[in-house]
Symmetry: D2
Subunit: 345 residues, 4 copies
């Protein structure tokens, strides 16, 4: 695999968008104060206020797990807990970091499609004030979800209202926030600030950055603690200007939207192509840049000789195909042809 | 401060060395498997074996605090403790991350110059097997130290032998390992592998990278746990190829050495210049890229209007001047002239 | 409530059995070395070997949460996780202590009756070696369970074999181990050591002690770490002789069995009585000292004016009635009569 | 050592005072609500208000480490730190529990006699708001100290004022608070509430209890969190009535004072006797129930054949002799005679 290649395994297999790399290069002039008191981070703060509203505060971090844990810990006292979908990244893909780094208990609930509902949240809204139970304090949702689905604006508003009516806070894991906004055709603030989300893990890496995420705080009360939590969680970049420059590039001239729209379009193109192939069953709504399908395991195995992608569920044979900002129509068409070919074998 | 500027505050105020940025750019071709199964990381593994010996294993992480905590935790059971100098970065500049993230107790000892000795270590080699005491398991040293001093090869060998004779392990915080090796005129392995260091936090950021550090394991027994500890400590980069490419660039054609030698030379140039200024007292050996001096506070204040640098000790008026890979002789001379001018005022 | 009273809320509402109190009094002679190097603890060690086999090691602790967390942590590396029933005490009633104190992730699975099966365990036996997932290392079961049910000896053997075949360890939360053994008519070792349990949280408090639990290690490899984990988890008693004396009293002349058998008999008496009352539905097998029944909420409310007991599930109206070593037939009959009266109202 | 014996190793080698045991027995009537909603705990609350003032809230726990960690965590955000003497129990004898259970960083300072001063505290009052430093939030002092010394009322007042003037809180580790109050001839509140202490770890075990300590909160803002922190720190007793009864017994008819006064008197008697022995050097003020002396190691060794006591410092040969509520004048005289005899050898 030494020659450049492209697959459908993950949007973090893609590289750096040229405009992001250019921004890094541009930021590389002279000295800059470390740890965030630099021009690039200041510029990012302005861009975040533009996109998320005047009260939004941004705290760049290294990765999504870091963003989630810092954000969630800022909303929890040591004895408190976080309600999430069983399929949430924070539950299944963060190596136990929330428990280990922050001592957080996750209260999980199975979902049909990766999306929480008021009713599902209510399952865990019990035993308030009972010291024997880690007390629910936050609900975290993922938009777009780990299963490629997205909440509508209305669903988010209803959810946020419900969460707040229970005296809880709402966190949004936005590793793929851009894909959700692009898919819904809304601005970033319409699915965060405007619906009442309290804090966002804002993802840049999957959207074309080299490695840049941020906690964006929308509830003013939380901003004070984040710098301390970020440092003690080992998520404070010394040469922060280069992290900020990446995020700023994505928020400039709608690069976030161009990248996400393209990835989404590629996923829909792939969905359309494979729906036409007898025997391939697309399992979930394609609201963002992921297609989930069930294939015969033998077909999966043959396809994986040439194309990288993950089996999502060994029991059912469900696979996941992710499209990214650099997936081309030719990539999709060739892959769909290969699937058709292998299915026909 | 919107125009490019340079100061003496920290080597992480400097930007990215052009060869490092070029390496990032070169790594940006096509897709790459995330989380370390990529060509750049594979190449880095080879380079690390070249520089540190055939048994060396490398695990890139985001920052120095992350490297230190992951490395130290890999050497400690939950009830164990780490012996370090009171001035160690891990003790005074990591926001309590070792305690918070890994539950580690630090057993600190005051030092004259930031360097531990067998005798200082012995102070904490007490009460073995006593459950009431967090049990010492690791000694961590910093090379070059936070006070700009460096252990000699002999001192390191003696220290490592002593540490091992006590049944402990030796960790080396090498945020500025390059500066120490350059100053001593030795290869990297001569002050790590060859003297018996068990694990190293290898710093790239201050040496010209954008943001790249690594745990380098020299004791084969530790390598198994690091991947799990790195992930659960939120230090696993998804697009790892770009972190690895930075470290690989530093280890290619001796860029690490060129950068460190230059920074060290600039520090010595500054030292020589200020030693000639009556009333400026250089407090410590200049073994690497830092100069510590005592100035009248009023002079410090006036200088800081034009030059960024930190007051190290408010009580004594000691200040720290760091040189970096991009500090120029002109920078040094202008700064020394400014000091002379202000001292003469 | 200043006069002595008795209810059906919990077996830890009952006091100290006279033989236990007598043992405390007897242990109160002269000085004794603190922290476990005393005669009472030595005597306890012998009794535990008698009841659990010659390799059994005992480590007294303060409470059940302490026993569980210390035992589980002794079986887990920092990145590992524990498989348990959703209804497990460790999951729902320990205030998040496993996560907070030990950083453990719990992998929960819903059960019909509080009991795990090989199939249920298999749900979480996935993604071995994947750093993104907290790695399963231990299965914990509760015997008798939080729902009043008990595993048979055969079920335990099958479970232990399955757990071990997966390379995992088996922990048994035995807060009510005595009730299970009494109900099954077996010795303590028959449902622990002999079936292959690796470590037990052995409960004394609910069985007639004042406050005394212990970690009993059956897998020799674990014993070394427990003293350190116990201390750092704040579960090491200074005047340990008085904790040990309580446990020793329970293991002397089968006091554990007499107390548990009595409590179980009272539960069966209550079950029989309420099954005869139209409209009261007993929901679960009465394998130990708990009866779970569904009552009309209004009846529950009226009954709770005179009798303390807990509503187990607000949604279904299920209540829990616990019998203890000091519950009398008269207590049961009077309570059953009250239920009948209120149901008839 | 199967016959009752007495030594000078520790005040927790002594047993239960008869009035405490009687109180346990008296509390053992009928059922009581678990976890603190019982008559004994209610009675304790009244007694604590009597002794510590109307705003005092009491939270019984199992042991001193538990009291300290729960109290300190209630005063710290996750990134904050605790200033203490190097010799503090919390630093040297709690197995790293503050770091491990609560993630707290301890900022230690050497002292001459185990007592902090405003000047010593100031050493750590630096770098406010700097995220790289775990932020000081609490000062903890021990009264009477681990070295047998006690703060005067005036010293405490000055210290508390200083701590508060720095915006910090003051915690008092009162494992031997009774001995200090007895020695100073003051009420408990005069060295806690009245001087401005914010929270106390109140020790019962060394004062004649079987095993009973408590967090006593004097600053109203802290009381809300303690129940949750106590539970998640595994320090919540189910049959709490028996812990509370012990503490209540000590606070009834001045049992705490009688026990402490007696232990202190025995220590002074021992001090007087050994000061008369040539070659024995008493090293520290005997403000409470401990005598520290330097003996020839060979003498120590011979004495330890018949008497248990600890060598405090292997380097200097300093030993510690603790007296307890049950030490008799005859014990002291016989021990002093043995010392004289061995010194004469």
């Amino acid at each position: 695999m030494s020659a450049p290649w492209r697959g459908f395994a993950s949007d973090n297999y893609a590289g750096i968008h040229p405009e992001v790399l250019e921004a890094i290069t541009r930021a590389n002039a002279g000295h800059a104060v470390a740890y965030g008191d630099d021009d690039e981070t200041e510029r990012l703060r302005g861009l975040v206020r533009e996109h998320f509203g005047p009260q939004a505060e941004v705290f760049p971090v290294f990765n999504g797990t870091g963003a989630n844990v810092v954000a969630l810990q800022s909303m929890c006292r040591p004895w408190e807990a976080v309600i999430c979908a069983e399929s949430a990244h924070v539950n299944v893909d963060e190596g136990g970091a929330p428990e280990k780094v922050a001592g957080l208990k996750l209260l999980t609930v199975p979902t049909a499609d990766g999306l929480l509902t008021p009713e599902l949240i209510d399952i865990h809204d019990v035993r308030r004030g009972d010291v024997h139970r880690a007390q629910q304090a936050v609900v975290t949702i993922t938009q777009s979800s780990e299963l490629g689905t997205a909440y509508t604006v209305d669903q988010l508003g209803t959810l946020a209202d419900h969460v707040h009516s229970l005296g809880l806070r709402l966190h949004l894991d936005g590793a793929r926030l851009a894909n959700a906004a692009a898919s819904l055709g809304v601005a970033l603030r319409e699915i965060t600030t405007d619906v009442g989300v309290d804090a966002v893990s804002f993802g840049g890496t999957k959207n074309g950055a080299m490695g840049a995420e941020a906690v964006i705080v929308l509830d003013g009360g939380l901003g004070h603690d984040i710098p301390f939590l970020r440092k003690s969680a080992m998520q404070l970049a010394s040469k922060m200007r280069f992290v900020s420059a990446q995020l700023a590039a994505l928020l400039t001239e709608d690069l976030w939207l161009r990248n996400a729209s393209h990835a989404n379009a590629m996923a829909r193109r792939l969905e359309a192509a494979v729906r036409a192939i007898p025997g391939v069953e697309v399992m979930r709504r394609v609201d963002a840049n992921a297609v989930f399908a069930v294939l015969p395991p033998a077909v999966t195995e043959r396809l994986q000789r040439d194309y990288r992608f993950y089996t999502w569920d060994d029991h059912t044979g469900e696979v996941r195909w992710m499209c990214s900002w650099d997936t081309t129509p030719e990539d999709v068409d060739a892959f769909a042809a290969a699937i058709a070919r292998e299915m026909g074998a």
